[in-house]
Symmetry: C2
């Protein structure tokens, strides 16, 4: 009984040539982008193994730049970094290069960047959140550029997305806060204008209040930009209120780290005198003291699945599906019951 000799795969060629599969597909599809010594090695491996790339795939490939664009709101903190690195690594496995642009949460800048990436020949785009002018989505449709939304998931929206329900995730945390006994609730949120993630997180807190017979209008809300310094500033304002809130729910871990730092500066014990919570579970959340009770967002998983789906869309194998990623609450040390009344 002899071994069945199966057709050589891309992987076999990559191994024989000592390069990545991404490099092999590049050699086959855009040889001008591969340095000559590598190209020779790969083509020798292709020949000696008798590798034949799928013909239909090659015809389709001919029109592609093997470049994917992503536009994120900011590079200035770790929120998007981790998911994006995984997104890129996964794209690279499929032979695509990622180009990233950052809009600084400005819709006009985002629009320019989308046009730049399309003008530069991007095969597909990753966008953060749903909220943008219909005109932009129309533009992408006219240019036949597949786009995928990440970081948001809402089954009511008819648009492919790989994300999570910000409302449900923050709602779970807020219910825990209320169950712990808090009634004087404040929230430091990112700016909600044009940011559906921030809007949904505020909505999650309000829904949890309503469910527990608290008037959602009693929520003290400060909106600010996602910076440590801004979280600190907002906390200072909240501590000047009377009565003081007993818990500050923060729109993300960066704001919570700032709030925590300011509480320390003001000599307020967390969580004995004041509870503070975060969102995202970036590395910071575990390092600060006390460590943050927060919502864990599986950024890497989201990045990986978004890359897989977007490649399927770009290569015409999917019309665009939506994937809901599970988040979970992480209980650490920054949340406790409210202090006893004086």
């Amino acid at each position: 009984m002899g071994k069945t000799r199966s057709a050589p795969t891309l992987n076999d060629v990559a191994k024989a040539a000592g390069v990545s599969t991404a490099t092999v597909s590049r050699c086959l599809n855009s040889p001008e982008r591969v340095v000559e010594s590598t190209r020779k090695r790969v083509m020798q491996a292709v020949e000696s193994l008798g590798y034949t790339p799928n013909f239909a795939a090659r015809v389709m490939a001919a029109n592609r730049s093997f470049t994917i664009g992503a536009i994120i709101p900011t590079m200035d903190n770790a929120i998007f970094a981790r998911g994006l690195q995984e997104f890129q690594d996964q794209l690279r496995e499929s032979g695509y290069t990622l180009l990233v642009s950052s809009s600084a949460y400005d819709p006009e800048v985002e629009r320019e960047q989308i046009r730049t990436l399309v003008a530069r020949g991007a095969d597909g785009l990753l966008l953060i959140g749903y909220a943008r002018d219909a005109e932009i989505y129309n533009y992408l449709e006219q240019h036949q550029i597949p786009s995928l939304v990440a970081w948001s998931y809402d089954p009511r929206v008819q648009r492919p997305s790989v994300g999570f329900s910000n409302t449900a995730a923050m709602g779970e945390l807020a219910r825990k806060v209320i169950l712990t006994g808090h009634r004087q609730i404040a929230m430091i949120s990112g700016k909600t204008k044009g940011n559906d993630r921030a809007q949904s997180r505020v909505e999650g807190v309000r829904l949890a209040m309503t469910e527990n017979s608290l008037d959602p209008d009693t929520l003290t809300l400060i909106e600010t930009t996602y910076e440590i310094e801004k979280g600190a500033e907002a906390l200072r304002k909240l501590m000047n209120l009377s009565p003081r809130p007993t818990v500050v729910i923060c729109g993300n871990d960066v704001l919570a780290a700032g709030a925590l730092r300011e509480a320390r500066n003001l000599g307020i014990q967390v969580p004995e005198q004041l509870s503070i919570t975060g969102f995202d579970d970036i590395e910071l959340a575990e390092i600060v003291s006390p460590s943050l009770t927060t919502v864990h967002v599986p950024h890497r998983e989201m990045g990986r699945k978004a890359a897989q789906e977007l490649v399927e869309m770009v290569e015409g194998r999917s019309e665009g599906r939506s994937v809901c990623i599970d988040t979970r609450m992480v209980v650490r040390h920054s949340l406790a019951g409210p202090p006893d009344l004086p």
Copy 2:
């Protein structure tokens, strides 16, 4: 005496149309990239003010994509984020869009990304550090793509860069460590292979030791990737040595944060029983407890100056100059004298 009526500027047009100067230059140079309503508003302002863009500048502009590429080693932490955001903001002032790629510290990936950005029409490139194959620099020269190095500055290297001397910056900190009384010195460094910043920081420590009559070969050196978890791991190893180092100099703040966390887990008091230092002065450095003695790198200033220089190069007004940015030591609470001998 009447007012002199000077020629209207780009700025005047922008104000009249209620848009950014970047949008005005885009309207003039790549009108297809601007949404119609905005374009109309801008062209009305151009007409009513009688604005005439400099003709020579427009001819040169015709060959440009107004896109700049930057390739950074990683998006996965804050080290490059801040400088890059400022780099982008400054580019935007001049009408350029930034596209970023991350090489994951892999020279083969970086090479692919450089070729992709050139193929996508980038007018110029920002690269981190000097260390890469001559072949890449030749390729860029052949394609007449100006490139600027950032994060490194070495007057011996004939290549335009906006950066700082990693050797001098780390040397200053190491001298302070030695003056404080430490003799058992360990260092947790980033991987030095292909990373001139990491190499120079190790060199800075060794030079400071030599200057102070300490044998640089007695430096205990662990190389690892720039991750919190890896900093923690490395500290664990160092604490198993006998004699134990009395100070751990870390190649950056991320490694230092990990080392600090692990020291806490092991019940080792910092700085009473062990001193730990960082590098970069990212926000983390001030938030961890005790706060980190580190080297402050003015990332925003570096980003801004790099953008200004690269635009000058792309627009043919500079052959490429080098700028040395000043760093400074920041003394906080993680460094003290060595513990008394038993």
